[in-house]
Symmetry: C2
Subunit: 241 residues, 2 copies
DNA sequence: AACTCAAATATTTTCGAAAATACGACGTTG
DNA sequence: CAACGTCGTATTTTCGAAAATATTTGAGTT
């Protein structure tokens, strides 16, 4: 076998769970399907018919079914025996609950990460935050252009913060809630420039508090940060009915 | 539409999620597979080959694959693309973490249930507790004979306690952790008669505190109750290596 | 019109054959 | 003999035809 590639930068980070899933076509369709639900390509409560989906993603029925049942256990779709799959509905109540759960997990996880994290953990946070800030610091038009990339880097940033937390299940549940929040965050994507600037500052402050190993401050900043976004999603949701 | 059936007893409880899953053969094999993992029929870290499983459960490969991927997102099995499925390993660390998470969910859920629960909720708790006590009050030999039934009724009892909690995600995560704990509880099934008597008493006390709407007391009793079982599992786990 | 029932249609669910991939055995080479 | 590549076997992964199930349509009845 030939050498696959020289690690260009020093980014010796293990492949993420998401990247691993992408290896197989089944994992790929799972990712695409979830992304299409998050981006409301498939509207809440819409039926997901195999006939349509096989054409759209060009995969077999079996593969699709596997992806859909996984999304069902993740909570993105509902399934009723004999009646097929539907996109899970969204509601203000659910957003409130998911937000509360996510915040409680994230706060606990970051405290533990701060207590346990080593120098690599710290360095990775700085690196990933930098990547995020490269997009967030852009002129507003460019920033919006690269929204999809921003979502990815934002996720990586929050993941890096808690990566040193030793509780695997805590991280797992945290990620589950983060994924659910994505659905609601999506409605806030057309934010104002001032909102964008605010996020930029918040991320830097969170990063600094974490590096300074100030668990209380980091937890408090994160709570504000998350709740603020959720509150905006909530008002948008209320406006649309 | 004709009357479907006269509710023979007063048990007007909605069909449980588990019962719904059993409707399809896919749901059935999922349940059996999970149960076989919980009961250590398949040992932790053991490979799960399709050839073997199709014979054992007499279902097609596709159906099995679907069940296995769901168990993967529930955390009972692990999956590596191209290498198939394995039973998830168990460890003392994991037991400690799962116990902590479950207790935090259960305590929060029961407080909310006590705040929100109506008379039907109360009545159901009394009924389900009675069904549980019918087995727990049996002479020890008979009690052990019906262990599988006990597991089911024990689950129903704890589910009934928190059923009035309005947070769907909280209940969902709670159930996830409860299911995981089942794997570890299994090693404690050969308990002594005195242990059995203790559980019998604890369940009655929890039931009474809940009916009396004493959230603090109920939460405290539950924490002790759960932690006690986990601690015993922990010592057994340590003894076996 | 309102209701029932059966046939026709639409959709899901199951299954295992076929393709793709991983793994081990074995000979070859440096 | 260790490292490498090749072939054969074991296993997983994908796919869509066929069976099972749900839904709609429409003719017949009250």
């Amino acid at each position: 076998m030939t050498i696959r590639s020289l690690p260009a930068t020093g980014r010796a980070v293990a492949k993420t769970a998401a990247a691993k899933a992408e290896a197989s076509t089944g994992g790929h369709v799972l990712t695409r399907l979830r992304s299409d639900i998050v981006s409301s390509e498939f509207k809440p409560s819409a039926r997901l018919k195999f006939a349509e989906l096989t054409k759209r993603y060009d995969v077999g029925i079996g593969t699709l079914r596997e992806a859909l049942s996984q999304l069902a256990s993740e909570g993105f779709v509902t399934v009723e025996a004999g009646k097929g799959f539907k996109v899970a509905p969204v509601s203000a109540e659910e957003l409130v609950e998911i937000t509360d759960l996510f915040i409680s997990f994230e706060k606990r996880a970051i405290r533990e990460a701060i207590a346990e994290g080593d120098e690599d953990w710290e360095a990775n946070i700085v690196a990933v935050h930098h990547r995020l800030s490269l997009i967030e610091g852009l002129p507003w038009a460019d920033r919006m252009e690269r929204h999809a990339e921003w979502v990815q880097r934002h996720r990586e940033f929050h993941e890096a913060l808690v990566a040193a937390c030793p509780g695997h299940w805590l991280l797992r549940l945290r990620t589950m809630m983060f994924d659910q929040l994505d659905r609601y965050r999506f409605v806030t994507k057309n934010a104002s420039e001032s909102q964008g600037r605010k996020k930029f500052d918040e991320h830097r402050e969170i990063m600094l508090a974490t590096i300074a190993r100030d668990g209380d401050k980091a937890a408090e900043l994160i709570e504000k940060h998350i709740r603020d976004t959720s509150d905006r999603a909530l008002t948008i949701l209320a406006r649309n009915g």
